[in-house]
Symmetry: C2
Subunit: 212 residues, 2 copies
């Protein structure tokens, strides 16, 4: 049995944040596939694992940890990798983790879900989400024009969190080279880190089975 078990599925960029950290940090881990698309996260059994009804959940030595940002924090402390060296760095990393959750992932993940998974087509809701997601991507692109990495001048869990949904640009309709070149170059730097693997390869559950 592996040291770490991660409850996850391939289409969740939030699960990918945790999986990528486990891989980049060289942890001994295994995936526990969660059948989100058939309703597993809404079952009482899963709610007993995480009352928030979400992946990822990390199991380690009898602990169960949820929220990708908390898992990243825990793993950086356990492994000594991708974390902070002092309180100022810790807060700068936390600032970008919170921004990611509030302003980037919340809108981008939902936009991508509607366009590529629920296949709603373009609606007032996708238009709203795209505008919010674009604002966030613009702020990130500007920030990455001034620094190679999001915080602390080196790869940290802030990068690992923020990139969670960004390896699927075609699924939410952006072209980094044309629209957000600094983000495109930063994603190439992440891809060059030893242990990087694309989410659809790293996490089980892709492709989705055809609907009957």
């Amino acid at each position: 049995m592996a040291e770490y078990t991660l409850y996850c599925f391939a289409q969740s960029g939030n699960a990918y944040k945790a999986a990528l950290m486990l891989n980049l940090a060289g942890c001994d881990w295994e995936a526990r596939f969660v059948d989100y698309f058939n309703g597993e996260t809404r079952t009482p059994a899963f709610r007993a694992i995480n009352e928030m009804g979400e992946v990822p959940v990390l199991e380690h030595k009898g602990k169960r940890i949820s929220q990708s940002g908390v898992i990243l924090d825990y793993l950086s402390e356990r492994t000594g990798k991708f974390g902070w060296k002092n309180d100022d760095e810790r807060r700068e990393i936390l600032r970008w983790l919170l921004w990611d959750n509030h302003k980037l992932t919340s809108y981008t993940a939902t936009l991508r879900f509607m366009i590529s998974l629920a296949k709603t087509g373009e609606t007032p809701v996708t238009e709203f989400l795209r505008q919010r997601s674009s604002t966030a991507l613009g702020i990130l692109n500007d920030h990455l024009g001034k620094a190679d990495w999001v915080a602390a001048g080196r790869p940290t869990i802030a990068d690992i969190s923020i990139c969670g949904y960004l390896f699927w640009p075609e699924e939410f309709g952006v072209d980094y080279a044309k629209q957000y070149p600094n983000i495109g170059k930063w994603l190439e730097r992440i891809k060059a880190l030893p242990g990087w693997v694309h989410p659809y390869t790293l996490v089980p559950g892709h492709p989705l089975p055809e609907k009957k």
Copy 2:
């Protein structure tokens, strides 16, 4: 001059999270009103203060700190109040801070903005946001059925963050007594904490001037 300066405006529940913490912790602080509704957060001068273009920003001893969750973390460490006693508590508090940013505030604040400030009326976007906000409020209501406080068995910055937009139920159309009774009772417990003040009284900028 006060020890802490908070960039804020009354309609921002995120600014209120920081203002409420300053008040509950008995800090010597002053508000620096930000004229959001006339575009101040989009000006280059404000972007130099916070590249994310958002309130709140806390100034303290030459530091500028943004993201409400980071400000709460900073203040709890500085004041020794509403924080954690060990790493498990720190992560449990962080978990709810992240959940608030991602799942509760992101949707609830935007819903309330559209209904009560932009006055869009009911649209597909408000319907989408209300569904997301209701899911989050349901999870919080269930959680507060099992505990008086969000984390650690006592009032912490998790409560202070999560309540940020919740003292305006009429502005996003919920009735706690009917829909989320545990949330209603928990908000009464927060109101009973020494130093609690309603956001429209605590933070400058309410009411908005009439549009000409």
